[in-house]
Amino acid sequence: MVSVRRSASAFVAVAIGVALVAAATLLLASGRPQVPDRLARAAVVVQSPEAGASADAFVPTRPWSATATAGLVGRLAALPGVAAVVPDRTFYAQPLVDGRPVAADTRREDAHQGHGWSSAQLGGLRRTAGEPPLRPGEVVVDRALGLRTGAPVTLLTAAGPEAYTVTGLVDGPGVLVADEVAAALAPGVRTIGLVLAPGADPERVATAARGVVGGDGQVLTGAARGALEPRGDARTRWIGMQVLTATAALAGFVTVFVVASTFAFTIAQRRRELGLLRAVGATGRQVRRMVYAEALAVGAAAGLVGLLVGAALAPLLGRLLVDVGYEPSTFRVRYELWPVAVSFAAGPVIALLAVWSASRRAARVRPLEALREAAVEQRPIGRVRVAVGALLVAAGLALSVGTATADEARIAAQYALYAVMALVAGATVLAPAVVGPVVRLLRSPLRRPGGAIGMLVRGGALTATRRTAAIAAPVLLTVAFAVLVSGMVRTTTAAYAAGRADNVNAGWILVPDRAPGLSDRAVAATGGTALLPTTVYRTDPGELPADRPLTALGVEPAGFAAANRALTVVAGSLDDLRGDDTVVVTEAANLRPSEAYAVVFADGTSVSLRVVAVVSDTSIPGDLLVPRAVVRTHDPSALTSTVYVRDRIDPPAGARVVDVATWAAEADAAEDRLVWLFTLLLIGVSAGYGAIAVANTLLLAAAGRAADLRLIRLAGATRRQVLWLVTAESAVVVLIGALLGGAVAFVGLLSIRAGLAEQVGAPVDLVVPWSVVAGVVGLCLLLAALASALPTWRSLRRRPARSSVGVVG
């Protein structure tokens, strides 16, 4: 009894949902760490100890000091089967072309990394011309830069621009310098590569190496060497995972929702037929089983189609993800079994979940309903439904309060998402009860467009509340989601930027341009106050985890204090931040001035610092303050992130000057861009889906209303009037959904604003991106108008008198 036309909408909805789930899970399964090409030939790699941070912090491992490295290299070289032991050193070095960094390379982390020449043997880098770098001032560069051997080239390093001569070219990103130069620029080592003798077994060598290394690092072989991928790549991939997981989850959630409303609608339309089945002897259970079987058939078929579409789309989407920065450039789509299995199962599962409540309603259809003429729905909303809706709304409101009172932004955002899901589900469940009053509210604007049409529109929307609600539900869902998520992102971004700008006391700010940071030379040229961040590792006595990564900021205390309005000194004095062993900690460290504070620096050396002052937790953009010279001593490749200057200056190479407001807005720009893209992606998925659902439901409704419309035609309405009627009807329903959705989202946004205001400590403006909202509502309106006007127009081309057989009131 599966009817093609009737199942078409559910089929399309499930197929799209499964296609999204399939594409997302395929991409998710493909996102695995890649062994960097640079280390491809090192069958065994020793990595320095993990930092004691959560896996999603993406901090580099704690480096070995020069002495520790030398010791390890010596002992590893003595192992049988080891041909060469190479400490792989990585530091900042960026070739300038025409005095500027190369634009195309800014996103590839390894394009501005330098290594010692000996590292070349770990990856089988092919030298295409020239000689290896042997002396300071000699460099081998990527041949893609277009330089020739013997040519001069300027390398931007942490110290500043340096003059080098190209001695050779290789086939790969980054630059290679003499090992002694590399050792000076990167005294701390995080990776030691082992090149094995021909025929040596990597696993056996690895076991022996583990005995040598002990607890002072991990020995990696095979695919496990993926852990050595650049931290930036790992982070990008993690972001991609979040995006894909959220997309898949949203697609699943929305699909169940939309398909459920489609099924509910088809069941409502088939009451008469179901009644007939009951009359001629189908039990309630049989009707229910039939509805389930239909859903299963539709779900399985649509799932298969969706899977194929998703699989075909995955490589395109994968490329897109790389382009926008959600996946590292090494990302490739791989067709694994589990995403295929999951997606294949998703179709029937989604369909069965979605049809659950509709099937209960179908089983309750009484045989007499076959005989009732008018399909006037009696009670618009059941008591259980009211209770469920009220519970959901209550949960949503409670979660909104949670959002408003949460301390941490991430937790608040999570609460907000759950809150909106609960509110949306609640509003959809309660929609039939709310639709009546809302339609009555809309009465006055509707009165004008031609009395009869307005009357018919109102009448239809009021009596068929369930139908109206079924059409309004996807609009509600879409608009609520779009308004809430986009509003939340924009409001949060604006609030944080405002907070940042408020805290800075400077006229202009120098920031890096096409480079990861500013060199010392650039900083010195400005005469401003600079922040020189570096990662240090701290093992708190008697506490786990060990080697906790902390951001230490190298500063000049006087300038820093003047530029930072948020600075609150709790104990001690910032003026004492001098010499080579002083530190300022935040209250979170729970220490007092003159206490000792030991940290491991980027060069792997452990230094016992002395606390000279304690500042409040939120007063510095990091964890510790140390004298700038201390950072430079221990991290020759540290780069300055920001320089505060009084007057506008001419920016040096690899830098740009911006005003404070721009800087505040840009500070997290890369991050904000990804977040905003992600937001648009989610909104796009849900909006496209909502619009399709609206169109689907309207197409179904049009089929059911053909007889009605013919009657109106017979009563003397012109074709134009009937078209206007159906279009106005759908517009009203879409607007009702948009209003309800907007209201739901507004509640959520207000609570988010309250939470933000508490965090930032200042009133926060609500930012709602109206263009996004207008786009979403417009899309729904457009598809709704098309989906109702087109089939009507087609059916109106036939003569009005050809009424269907047996329709007698």
Binding site: E273, T283, L371
Partner: protein
């Protein structure tokens, strides 16, 4: 055909029902819809019976309770008071599923319209009750049933490809194939022209004459009623008159006109 579960009836009516030869009995049937101001008494104490192998026409003004009577007798609706038995089984003793099974096995329907499932062909519609009972009638039986109603060549057509009269005849074929004890028809010719009406009525008559089945038909057309063995006249939810013996359209019309002269609140 498996006999429907016979329950031990309560002693008061048990003896009565077992002794009767009537296929359908109605005892003290009252049906009240709505409450308060909107309270409507659709049936106001109807007691009658339909003997096996007879054709009864139920007539009366619009709103007199004809359809309600039919629905209650067929177990589609439950009366507020009173007892219905079909083949000696008390319907009020049956649960929803047992009632459904009884309908499937013992009762056939021909409605005024919307008799057929639109997504199924004529043949599939004929098979439907048996299929619901998990039996597959032999294809020859289905073909024979359709042939009996003159639609042998339309077996593969869907309802939308059939005229109103043809749809009604498919419904009759459906009532034919399971050989139900009783066929209820609610204005089966209401939407048909006179020649299509005659065909359907002749088929209903044949159910009684050739197969000994029982037919109860609601109609407002004296010419249709003339096919019956007996005519029940309903007014305001009560049986007010009954005609038996050879029935002619003229006699029915006369009897109705007679009642019309008596002041009555509703018109035909």
């Amino acid at each position: 055909m498996p006999a429907p579960a016979r329950r031990a009836a309560p002693p008061v009516f048990g003896t009565v029902t077992v002794m009767t030869t009537d296929t359908v009995t109605l005892t003290g049937l009252r049906t009240v819809y709505g409450t308060g101001d909107r309270r409507v008494t659709a049936l106001d104490g109807v007691t009658t019976s339909f003997a096996g192998g007879t054709f009864t026409a139920v007539m009366g003004p619009s709103g007199s309770g004809k359809s309600t009577l039919l629905h209650c007798a067929a177990g589609l609706d439950r009366a507020t008071e009173g007892v219905v038995t079909i083949d000696g089984v008390r319907l009020d003793d049956l649960g929803e599923d047992e009632l459904t099974r009884l309908r499937r096995d013992r009762i056939g329907f021909v409605f005024q319209a919307f008799n057929l499932v639109s997504t199924l062909t004529a043949a599939q519609n004929v098979e439907l009750p048996s299929r619901l009972a998990r039996r597959r009638p032999p294809a020859a039986d289905v073909a024979a049933a359709l042939d009996a109603v003159g639609l042998a060549d339309r077996a593969g057509h869907r309802p939308s490809e059939l005229s109103g009269g043809e749809q009604q005849r498919v419904a009759v074929a459906r009532a034919l194939i399971t050989r139900p004890a009783v066929v209820f028809a609610d204005e089966p010719t209401g939407a048909l022209d006179s020649s299509a009406s005659r065909q359907v009525l002749r088929l209903l008559r044949a159910l009684v004459d050739d197969h000994g089945q029982t037919v109860v038909m609601v109609t407002h057309d004296p010419a249709a009623a003339a096919y019956a063995d007996r005519v029940l006249l309903l007014a305001d939810g009560r049986v007010v008159d009954e005609l038996t013996g050879p029935i002619t359209a003229a006699a029915v019309a006369a009897r109705i006109a007679e009642r019309e002269t008596v002041p009555a609140e509703s018109s035909w």
